[in-house]
């Protein structure tokens, strides 16, 4: 029995976190948030993503990737969430996954090495279709290739290149969104209904892991602040009302970490309960990230509500991701249908 991250996996996450702490901290995130008309993908950070293998993680070795699994990918996602890092990492990894699993040899050769190296930007969406238009695509304006449903309501995935993108506003300033339409559409020949489900599960796990990273970091920063901040002559962290709330959050975040890790493993290895595991991970991580980021604001007091403080980066990103691929209620309905029945 070994249910934990290996030391290699831990190092992978630590390397991303170290990079962000030293080279792309919250002040750098702020620059992105405060310049919404920029493309939201700082060159230095994206170069690091390519050079350090973040974008190559699940691409097979034949196409210049690292050939690792969703478990490793979720480690990176968690670290990027903790740093509320901007950039099209997740879309690029998911687009590469789709091409790797359903693309023709030509499509693989054309895209995988470039996506792995971070030379091309990928995007992935399940909303809308190549035929009717894609209403919200993360980094849709930046993407060289978008993987999307081919037609509304029908199974099938398409590669879209050269689409026309127009910005979609969002109060989560750590991400850029765009609607996309037109462009050149190619089908992904290997797409099946199961594969489409699998890709959505992979996307869901990566979002869950980002939420887990957000939640853990929000909690850690809040604990650090409440240990120092004094009122009534004592650190506010000595008040039991705060202690109990923070203790409950620690338990919740830890459980969400387990849930995202297990879901990644279950999807990677096709365990029988993979579908349930993904829904559990998404329900728990959405729930706990919303709680932890709200607590981050509350337990910083007035300063936590200011634009100057970073709490809102975490809160707003959690809000957006908690709703993706099924919010808490939708994820729980999926759990109910699997365990209670229709």
């Amino acid at each position: 029995m070994f249910f934990a991250l290996t030391s290699d996996q831990q190092e992978f996450g630590a390397a991303v976190r170290d990079y962000l702490a030293q080279r792309f901290d919250l002040a750098a995130v702020r620059t992105v948030v405060e310049n919404p008309s920029d493309d939201g993908n700082p060159a230095s950070l994206w170069r690091a993503a390519g050079e350090q293998g973040w974008t190559a993680v699940t691409v097979d070795e034949d196409h210049d990737g690292l050939g690792l699994g969703l478990v490793e990918a979720q480690v990176i996602a968690r670290a990027l969430g903790a740093g509320v890092a901007p950039g099209p990492w997740r879309g690029t990894v998911l687009a590469a996954d789709a091409i790797r699993l359903a693309g023709s040899d030509e499509q693989k050769a054309a895209w995988l090495p470039k996506l792995a190296a971070g030379e091309a930007v990928g995007a992935f969406t399940t909303r809308g279709s190549a035929a009717s238009g894609l209403p919200v695509v993360e980094y849709g304006a930046l993407a060289d290739v978008v993987v999307a449903p081919a037609e509304d309501g029908l199974p099938g995935l398409a590669l879209v290149t050269g689409a026309t993108a127009s910005p979609v506003g969002s109060y989560d300033g750590t991400t850029r969104l765009a609607s996309c339409s037109g462009g050149t559409v190619e089908t992904l020949p290997g797409t099946t209904v199961e594969l489409q489900r699998l890709l959505t599960d992979r996307a869901t796990v990566l979002v869950a892991a980002d939420l887990v990273g957000i939640a853990r970091e929000a909690l850690t920063r809040t604990v650090a602040y409440d240990r120092e901040r004094t009122q009534f002559g004592v650190p506010v962290g000595s008040f039991q009302a705060l202690k109990h709330a923070l203790a409950d959050l620690h338990v919740g975040v830890t459980m969400a970490e387990h849930a995202a890790l297990y879901a990644a493993h279950a999807v990677d290895t096709g365990l029988a309960d993979a579908e349930l595991a993904v829904a559990v991970a998404k329900a728990k991580s959405s729930d706990v990230a919303l709680q932890a980021t709200a607590a981050m604001i509350q337990f910083h007091g007035g300063i936590g509500y200011t634009w100057e403080h970073e709490a809102h980066f975490f809160y707003k990103r959690a809000k957006r991701l908690a709703g993706q691929y099924g919010d808490v209620a939708v994820s729980r309905e999926r759990i109910a249908s699997l365990t209670v029945g229709a």
């Binding site: 029995m1 070994f2 249910f3 934990a4 290996t6 478990v71 604990v223 409440d226 240990r227 004592v234 650190p235 962290g237 000595s238 039991q240 705060l242 202690k243 109990h244 923070l246 203790a247 409950d248 620690h250 338990v251 830890t254 459980m255 969400a256 387990h258 849930a259 890790l261 297990y262 493993h265 349930l276 595991a277 559990v280 329900a283 728990k284 209620a329 994820s331 729980r332 309905e333 999926r334 759990i335 109910a336 365990t339 209670v340 029945g341 229709a342």
Partner: protein
């Protein structure tokens, strides 16, 4: 990631399974069977069963062979926990002796204590109680006031313990007793092992909200305890108690998950039967609980991994306790919501007996109190794990 057990562990699972299949009568697994028995009858059946189980080599799975145990791995213990719950084996009569006392005696007991205590515990011949709580010392255990005064080779003990599980059926009790006159808080306490079948020890049942009397109160009135029956150093009982309580940490979440998951499925079946399974609020409630139960399973696997790697779990045990006790309590609140206005009835109109389920629902109110209340666990987590100031 490797979620499998070793071949030797899987072999053990098969061996245990077939033994359980052969030795658990169908009747025992009928819902409500154990609840329908008189306490003493239930106790007798469980005691006999445990003796047979020990004779078959399925007791003390992780205990060293030199003590008559099986010398198994943490994985085997986890398998044991899972399979016994799955087979609906009766609950142990000796949870406190087996979980807490035995490993403490192995760690710091004298040779005589090891010899006298461990063998009989393995076969459940001596049922042990834990005499920590007092009327004035619950969460604040160090406020205890039961006194032991040295008289030759004995301590003479006076005082009262309360909420003592198995008080009436117990043979012996490990207690915390103030053996240093005028001492305060953690100092001057000794852990004494007291024979309950002697003049000067009286146990009285306390009726619980469920109607059962699993716990009771114990009065010491000049009870005599040889000084050799002190576990650990005299006056150092607090340290002994902390060591003893540390044995709560382990992979116990696996058996809890297995049991709660079965209860979840039973409750979901009740929801379907009552036409409540398509109520979106009920579905959301059930899914929330299931999420927490699945997290408990994964957390237990993580704990097991750490135990196998020889890591000290430290104060993480508080997290495990919080996770399972709160989820379990929530589960039974959802059950009440499913029954709605019929939540308190003894039976449904079709005759389905609800009392065994009610017994669980009542029990759920206790789990956030004993073994350190949820509030105390939150304090521990906040102060010892998160490092918030006291």
């Amino acid at each position: 990631m490797d979620l499998t057990f070793t071949p030797a562990e899987e072999e053990f699972r098969e061996e245990l399974r077939s033994w359980l299949r052969a030795h658990i009568p169908d009747e025992w697994t009928r819902p409500g069977f154990w609840e329908s028995l008189e306490d003493s009858e239930s106790f007798r059946l469980r005691r006999d069963w445990e003796r047979d189980k020990a004779d078959a080599g399925f007791a003390g799975i992780q205990w060293p062979v030199e003590y008559g145990g099986r010398g198994g791995t943490p994985g085997m213990k986890a398998i044991y926990d899972e399979e016994t719950v799955r087979a609906r084996a009766p609950r142990t009569v000796n949870p406190l002796g087996l979980t807490f006392l035995a490993p403490t005696v192995m760690a710091i007991g004298t040779d005589a204590q090891k010899k006298e205590i461990i063998g009989p515990l393995l076969r459940n011949e001596v049922v042990w109680c834990q005499g920590f709580s007092e009327p004035g010392a619950g969460s604040d255990l160090a406020a205890l006031s039961t006194k032991g005064v040295r008289d030759g080779d004995d301590f003479v003990v006076n005082g009262q313990k309360v909420w003592t599980t198995n008080a009436v059926h117990g043979d012996k009790i490990f207690t915390l007793v103030r053996t240093e006159a005028g001492s305060e808080k953690h100092r001057g306490i000794s852990m004494l092992l007291i024979d309950m079948n002697q003049p000067g020890v009286t146990a009285r049942p306390l009726r619980q909200m469920s109607g059962a009397s699993e716990f009771g109160e114990v009065f010491f009135d000049d009870a005599r305890v040889p000084v050799t029956d002190c576990l650990g150093e005299i006056g150092d009982g607090w340290r002994t108690a902390m060591l003893l309580l540390s044995f709560e940490r382990g992979a116990s979440g696996i058996s809890q998950y297995t049991e709660f998951r079965r209860q979840y499925d039973e409750i979901a079946a009740v929801a379907r039967k009552l036409g409540r399974a398509d109520d979106p609020v009920i579905r959301d409630d059930l899914a929330r609980v299931l999420t927490e139960l699945e997290c408990l399973r994964l957390h237990s696997m993580h704990v097991l991994t750490q135990v196998e790697q020889g890591r000290d779990l430290g104060f993480e045990a508080s997290m495990t306790k919080l996770q399972w006790s709160e989820a379990f309590q929530d589960l039974w609140e959802v059950y009440d919501r499913i029954l709605g206005e019929d939540a308190t009835l003894d039976a449904l109109t079709d005759g389905t007996d609800l009392r065994p389920l009610h017994a669980q629902a009542m029990w759920s109110r206790s789990v956030t109190i004993w073994g350190g209340s949820s509030q105390v666990q939150r304090n521990v987590t906040a102060e010892r794990v998160l490092g918030l100031p006291r």
